[in-house]
């Protein structure tokens, strides 16, 4: 085993702060400072050219800024993005959920409240009398969607603007979840990408 020369350790061993050894070129600051300034000037000039061209209706395919101008311009949301929940419906318009309580059980934040009830149709066992999700507590893990045996709940509304003035209004009840209000870009009901349902 090689003996360690404790008196001549490299600088990086001795100090907790990693020191970069600078040569004379870096120590006189100016060349490196000018290099940095040239970099930012490059961005400045390029973006100014693009902005100016936009005023005259040219170079529309190039963006002068990488940011999105939010309320007018939205970021494309991926199809599998987990947005606000919605409850699916049967063909006759009633809820698909059978009140099996699996989602309420699996939910890590305990934010689903289901009150089950006997279904009027004797061939169907149960249905939820009320189904509430406290959206403020939800952590959007998607476990409820994963666990549901009858695909009665989905998070594909693409709705990300979940906001309100009042906490009590942020508890979504069954009617709200079944209203099927979807955000922009939500997949249609007969989405070919959801082939696994068939």
């Amino acid at each position: 085993m090689a003996k360690i020369d404790y008196h001549n350790l490299p600088v990086s061993y001795k100090t907790s702060v990693q020191k970069v050894d600078m040569g004379l070129w870096e120590k006189i600051y100016y060349p490196e400072v000018i290099r940095g300034l040239l970099l930012t000037t490059g961005h400045f000039v390029r973006n100014m050219i693009v902005h100016t061209a936009h005023v005259f209706g040219m170079m529309k395919d190039k963006r002068g800024a990488v940011t999105y101008q939010y309320p007018e311009e939205r970021r494309p949301i991926h199809r599998r993005y987990r947005g606000r929940h919605r409850l699916m419906k049967k063909d006759d318009g009633t809820e698909r959920c059978t009140a099996c309580m699996l989602c309420e059980t699996v939910c890590p934040t305990n934010c689903i409240y289901i009150v089950p009830e006997e279904h009027p149709d004797p061939t169907v066992e149960k249905h939820p009398a009320s189904y509430e999700i406290d959206i403020l507590r939800c952590c959007f893990c998607g476990y409820c969607v994963e666990v549901c045996p009858c695909d009665a709940i989905r998070m594909d509304t693409q709705d990300v603007e979940i906001a309100g003035w009042d906490r009590t209004k942020m508890v979504y009840n069954k009617e709200m979840l079944m209203a099927n209000i979807t955000g922009p870009g939500a997949p249609p009901e007969d989405d070919p990408a959801q082939w696994w349902l068939k």
Binding site: V33, H43, N47
Partner: protein, 360 residues
């Protein structure tokens, strides 16, 4: 009577121009930094739906400043707390008085020098009032009755006093070359030519002097990369306890300083209002040929050239502010005392030697 009226007109003209430019600078700083960082910057302030690329933002800021609570720490010194921003603001504006923004304007027999005050101690006046801004920061730190503000104020004082030495010494070479402290005489000499074609700007006489003067001035005005006195969120600066219009005054003083310092750079090193090859009655080109221009056009060209130079240096200072990281305090002090100061002294020696050789 007419004399007084002209002087008053010049004072108000310069003051209003400075304040307007400073307001525009706040917008420029926002927008330029945004464009440099591939953003768009503040563009939402509008009047009746009219946005004109965010130009209303300075007004919105002003209104906000007016309506914010103006808070004085209960155990702070109310008088000094009010005085401090004024002390910081005043010198920044007053320095511009000795900066010539044009040659003489002739209307009939009337000769109006385009400069507020023709002082023969011009540069010393600038140093003296530049030194006064230190009081603003120290008073702000002291009167806030807040330990961190006080430390920030002292830090600022140490930095500014150190760099004042550098600002003073790095310019001695230039004063030796021009043989005067009066700024308009300096600019006049810069209208001549070296070797018959190069404009006799200070930068060509004193390249090292400029490289030392530039960072020293930026440190003196407490801008990034030397903005330790402020250090907004990390090390807490001297105006922590300021809000509302008092804070606004500090903030505004900083932007006026940018403009005044830009004017100073162009006056001392880049020929001030001079346009290369432009003389009192038109262009005379070194490669032969001339182009006569009426007096008014010449004056306007000079004003325009001065303005363009100021705009360039404002742009450069904003570019620097949004590019470089901050110096650590020991690095800052080391740069001053072991970097700029010895080089400035060396610059004086070299300049003296060369002047001795040339002029005998």
């Amino acid at each position: 009577m007419l004399e007084t009226a002209i002087i008053l007109a010049k004072i108000w003209g310069v003051l209003l121009t400075l304040v307007t430019l400073a307001a525009i600078m706040t917008w420029v700083e926002r927008k330029q930094s945004a464009v440099m960082q591939d953003r768009l910057g503040a563009n939402r302030a509008d009047v009746f739906g009219l946005r004109i690329i965010g130009l209303f933002q300075p007004m919105a800021d002003g209104i906000k400043m007016f309506f914010k609570e103006d808070f004085v720490p209960p155990k702070g010194d109310k008088f000094l707390h009010t005085l401090a921003p004024i002390v910081a603001f005043f010198p920044a504006v007053v320095i511009f008085a000795v900066v010539p923004f044009g040659d003489v304007l002739r209307i009939g027999t009337l000769e109006i020098p385009l400069q507020v005050a023709r002082l023969n101690i011009g540069y010393l006046f600038i140093l003296a009032f530049g030194g006064l801004t230190i009081y603003g920061t120290v008073l702000a730190g002291w009167s806030s009755n807040n330990k961190y503000s006080l430390l920030g104020g002292l830090r600022a004082a140490a930095q500014m006093i150190s760099y004042e030495v550098c600002v003073g010494l790095s310019l001695v070479g230039l004063i030796m070359v021009f043989g005067t402290l009066q700024l308009d005489l300096m600019v006049k000499q810069q209208g001549e030519l070296i070797f018959g074609f190069l404009p006799a700007w200070g930068i060509f006489y004193q390249p090292l002097g400029f490289l030392l003067f530039f960072p020293a001035v930026i440190a003196e005005t407490k801008r990034v990369p030397f903005d330790l006195p402020e250090g907004e969120s990390e090390i807490i600066g001297y105006y922590t306890e300021y809000s509302g219009l008092r804070f606004g005054l500090f903030y505004f003083a900083e932007f006026i300083e940018i403009i005044v310092m830009s004017a100073l750079f162009s006056t001392l090193f880049f020929g001030g209002y001079q346009v290369p090859y432009l003389y009192a009655d038109g262009f005379v080109f070194p490669w032969g040929g001339s182009w006569n221009l009426p007096h008014l056009v010449v004056v306007l060209l000079q004003l325009g050239s001065f303005f363009i130079k100021i705009a360039f240096f404002c742009w450069l200072q904003v570019l620097i502010r949004w590019t470089l990281p901050r110096f650590r305090y020991d690095q800052l002090m080391r740069l001053c005392w072991t970097g700029i100061l010895p080089l400035a002294v060396l610059n004086i020696l070299i300049t003296g030697g060369i002047l001795l050789l040339i002029k005998g």
